[in-house]
């Protein structure tokens, strides 16, 4: 039941990225709803939900937005490895909210840079300065703002932030 609910949320996220996100651009940049939903899943449901959900979300978004699946998968792939690194003791002295925000910003930069590189490789005539100032920076601001709002909303309904580190199997 929980798996079906998560799958439906991921489907809805992919469709919202295509239909809703473009309606609210800021300086041309569009919020990365898949990134935010995957991060919230990692924090409030657990990393295994992201491990299973990432390919599902990438496939749905690939079909809906007509973007190659492989690039979407690689764009959001660093979420868990970066989370794992940030959560290490003495890595970054941050609280859970700041850790989550840091992951969003880091993966946001990676995802947008990757997709911009793919666009350039397929013929887009883009300056790197334009990609930084008009794509990456406004996008990071949007992601940060929406993630903060969503994180606060989840915490205010009583959901506890979990560790994003994969737990060892035990008996």
């Amino acid at each position: 039941m929980r798996a079906a609910l998560i799958a439906f949320v991921l489907l809805l996220t992919a469709l919202a990225q295509v239909t809703v996100a473009p309606l609210f651009p800021v300086s041309g940049a569009v919020v990365e709803l898949p990134l935010i939903v995957l991060l919230l899943l990692a924090v409030f449901v657990g990393p295994t939900a992201v491990m299973a959900g990432l390919p599902v979300l990438a496939l749905c978004l690939s079909f809906a937005a007509n973007i190659e699946f492989e690039w979407l998968l690689l764009a959001y792939l660093p979420i868990l490895p970066i989370a794992s690194w940030i959560e290490r003791p003495r890595a970054l002295p941050l609280n859970r909210y700041a850790q989550t925000l840091s992951i969003a910003l880091a993966v946001g930069i990676w995802a947008r840079a990757l997709l911009a590189t793919v666009a350039m490789a397929s013929g887009a005539d883009l300056a790197i300065v334009f990609v930084v100032t008009d794509v990456i920076l406004p996008g990071m601001l949007l992601d940060g703002a929406l993630l903060s709002f969503a994180y606060l909303a989840c915490r205010s309904v009583g959901w506890e932030a979990r560790s994003m580190e994969l737990q060892r199997a035990g008996f």
């Binding site: 809703v20 309606l23 651009p25 079909f63 490895p81 013929g123 794509v135």
Partner: protein, 274 residues
Amino acid sequence: MLIFTRYTYWAGAMVALAVFFGVVGRTGALEPVQDVFLRATGPLEDGLSATFRPVAGFLDDVRDLDRLQGENRDLLVENETLRNEIAALQGDALRIADLEAALNITSGDPSAERLAAGVMSRTQGPLTSQLRIDKGTNDGIAEGNVVISVQGTLLGTVTRALASSSFVRLVMDSRSSVAGQVLGSTADGIVKGDGRDMSFSLVEGDVNVGDTIVTSGLGGTYPPDLRIGEVSEVLGDLQDPFPRVRLDPTVRISTTRTVLVITSFVPDRFQLDN
């Protein structure tokens, strides 16, 4: 690697999956699955669009209130001028029809077979700009068909045609380039997109603010004389061999609900790189 301590196998599996889908996707094997997915999720997409589009439209209008009021005044004046021109043109058309009948001339553009299609969604990324329309290969649409607005303005090209829907790469897309020329002049260049705006680059000849840019037909990818946009800004000095020219689209993509696909136009050379 330190950061992959616990996720090594998973990350490796994901990379393998990416490679697998990359290979399978290029064979076209996923297209029927994509078509079924898009058909199944169509109502959900419509519901999301219908819910959020009015909110976005309201916010847009509030933001653009001053500009819209000015535009409304200008349009009223332009409307009156155009009505007078239409009256004059109707007289000319009647005379031309009489002359054609007298000389036994038949007219008609064979490349003007147009199919109306509804816009299902719009993907507007910072670098990409595309539409999905509700007509596909079952309706006679093929990759490379040119898409225009109901008023005849160039919107883009069909880059992927599925059985019951198609994706249209808009002229604002950063991967789009269209051979264009200034209407009523020999000045020509390339219209390029950057994801949300258009520029007219490598211009040879004089270009002024307010000029209308149309397709030149060079290269054979688009039919000639389709309106693309109007020059809004010319940057660079007189000595500049290739001034930077910005274009305003003459159609508001965000509110476009119906488009026309020129199904009978077959590009001379159409190479997809999507």
